[in-house]
C-alpha cells in the first residue's frame, strides 16, 4: 500500500515523503505527470497526493486521466496545492479529487486526511474480499 507524491518542487516532495514515512506509509515521489503515470504503471498506489501546478500536464488534468481510466479510477487522489483562493477546492473536487489540502500544509490535517483515507481503503478492501 504505497502513496505517490506528485509535486514539481523538491522541498515539497521531501517534506511529504518524510511526513508519510513518519505515519508509517511507503512513499514515492515524482515531479511531473509523465513520471507519475510511469510510477502508477509500475506499482499502483492506493493514494496520490497531487500538486496542481505542474510543468506540462497539470495536476487536475492528470487527475481526470487517472479517474477516467478503469484500471486506475479507484486510486484515491488528494489535491495538495498552493491554489488556496475561493473556488480552488471546488475546482479540485470537480476534476475528480477525493480530498483537498491547501499549502502551507497543516500537519494535523495532513495526518488525519491520510489516516482517514487509509482506513477507508482498508474497510473497502475487507468488504471486497468478503463479498466477491
Amino acid at each position: 500500500m504505497t502513496v505517490l507524491v506528485v509535486d514539481d518542487q523538491p522541498a515539497n516532495r521531501a517534506l511529504m515523503e518524510y511526513l508519510l514515512q513518519r505515519l508509517g506509509h511507503r512513499a514515492r515521489a515524482v515531479e511531473d505527470a509523465q513520471s507519475a503515470l510511469a510510477a502508477i504503471a509500475q506499482e499502483k498506489p492506493y493514494l496520490i497526493l497531487m500538486d496542481v501546478q505542474l510543468p506540462g500536464i497539470d495536476g487536475l488534468e492528470l487527475t481526470r486521466r487517472i479517474k477516467g481510466n478503469a484500471a486506475t479510477e479507484d486510486i484515491i487522489i488528494v489535491a495538495v496545492t498552493s491554489y488556496a483562493m475561493s473556488g480552488d477546492r471546488e475546482c479540485a473536487l470537480a476534476a475528480g479529487c477525493d480530498g483537498y489540502l491547501a499549502k502551507p500544509i497543516d500537519m494535523a490535517s495532513f495526518s488525519s486526511t491520510v489516516t482517514e483515507f487509509y482506513a477507508k481503503r482498508q474497510r473497502a478492501d475487507t468488504i471486497g474480499r468478503e463479498c466477491p
Binding site: A11, N12, Q53, P55, Y83, A102, P104
Partner: protein, 502 residues
Amino acid sequence: MMGTSAARATTQEWGASLDLRRILLVEDNPGDADLARERLAEADSPAFDVCHAMTLAAAIESLAERPSDAIILDLGLPDSRGIETVSRLKVASRDIPIIVVSGYVDENLRALAIAEGAEDVFTKDESNSRLFWRSVLQIIEHRRVQHRQLQTLLDATPDAILVVDRLATIRYVNRAALVLFERSREELLGDQLDLAMSSGELTEIVVPRADGECVCEMHVVPLQAWHDDSTSLVVIRDITERKQAEALRAHSMELAAQNRQIMEASRLKSQFLSNISHELRTPLNAIIGFSNVLHDGMVDSSSPKYKEFLGYIVSGGRHLLQLINNLLDLAAIEAGKIKFSPESVDLPALMHDVVAVLGALSMEKHIDVEVDADPALARVYLDPGRLKQVMYNYLSNALKFTPEGGSVAIRTRIMSDALFRLEVADTGPGIEQDHIAQLFSEFYQIESGTAKSNQGTGLGLALTRHLVEAQGGSVGVSSVRGEGSVFFAVLPRMATGGEVAT
C-alpha cells in the same frame, strides 16, 4: 398650440375668397364686357367680383396686383391674337384656370387651347348663357377642392415643406413648417429663408427653437414647373430624436466597452492576487512544514536529513524575500513611486560584478559566461542599482535555462548618441513564438519539461520591463527554438535629470 395656429393660418389663406369669386375678364370689346357683367349679375350662385382688362398687358399687370380665381380670356386682343394669347397669359397666371372665349370655336382650336393650358373653350354665344357662368363656377370650385386636398396632404406630412424663390423668399409653407420655425404663416410668407441651400443633396441643419435646438435634415429640390426655374421646394425633416438615439447608442456602446475593460482589469487583478497567493504559499510550505518537523525533535540534529531540511527552510526563506522585494518594486513602479538616482557608472565593471554574483551558479552548471563590453562605451549615466537589477534578472534567467556545459554572454553596444543596448544571449532551449508576447507579463512562467527545477518568482522579467520602461527604455527578446535566446534592453546612455521620479 400647433393645432390652433395652423388652423387659423389655413382659414386665413382661403377665407378671403370664400364668398367672392374673383374673375379677371380679359376682353377688348366693351360691349361684350358689359354683357358679361349683366349675365353675372343675374347669376343665382355666389357673387362674382369682376376685374376687367382690355389688353393682355393690362391683364398681366392686374394679375400681379390682385389675386384671381379664374380668367376669362377673349382670344382677339389688340396686343395679342390667337392661341398664343393663351400661352402668354399662362406664364403670368401660373395655376389660375383660364377659360377661353372666341367668336369661332372648332375642335382644332379647342384642342390647341387646352394643350396650351386653357381649362375650357366657349364661343361668344355660349358665354352669354347662364350655363357658361355655372361652368366657370364649377371650374373654380373644382380648382378650390384640388387646392384644399393638396393643402390637406401637405399639412398632414410631418416634414416641414416650403417653396422659396431664387431670392430665398418664402412663397409657401405647410403646417409642419409653422411648428418647426415657431412662426405664423403670415410671418413666414414673404420672409427670407435664412438657410444655406444646396440643391439635390441632404444637408444637416440646426434650427434654433425656444426649447433648445432642433437638428434637421434638409432636402432642396428645384421646381421647374413652378413660377420659374429658380424656385425650389425645401423639405425639412426633424431628426433630433434620431440623432439623440444615435448618440445614446454610441454612448451605450462606449459604456459597454468601458465595462468590458473594467471587467478585464478586475479579472487580471483577481488573477494577480491568486498568483501572489500561490507564489507565497509555495516557499511557505517548505518553511512551515520543515520547521514543524524539526521542532518536533524527531530528526536527529547531527543527521544529514537535519541539514537537508534546514537547507529547504533557508532557501524557501530567501525565495520568499526575493518574491516580496520584487512585489514591492513592482508596486512602487505601478504607483509611480520608484526613484532613480543616476550617476556615472563604469559599465564593464558593473557587468563583471553581476557575473561574479552569479559565479556559483555558472560554475555549478559549467556554463562559460562571456563579458563583451563595447570598448567605446565605458561609462553611462544611470542608476547603478537598477541597472544591476536588470543585468541580474537577465543573466540569472539565462543561467537557469541554459543546460550544463552551455554558454552565456552579456553584451553592451552603442546604438546612437542617446541609446545603448544591453543584451544577454544564452544557449538554452529557446522560446516558442506563442510565449514571447506574454514573457514580460507578471507571473508568466513557461511550462517546460526540461525546466522543472527552475524555481522563480515569475516576476523577474515583468520587473525588468517596468524598470527599463520607467527609464525611457524598452525590452525585447529574440529566440530560436533549440538554439537559444537573446534578451535585450535598450536604455538611454544618459538619464534625464538628476533624480527621475516616474
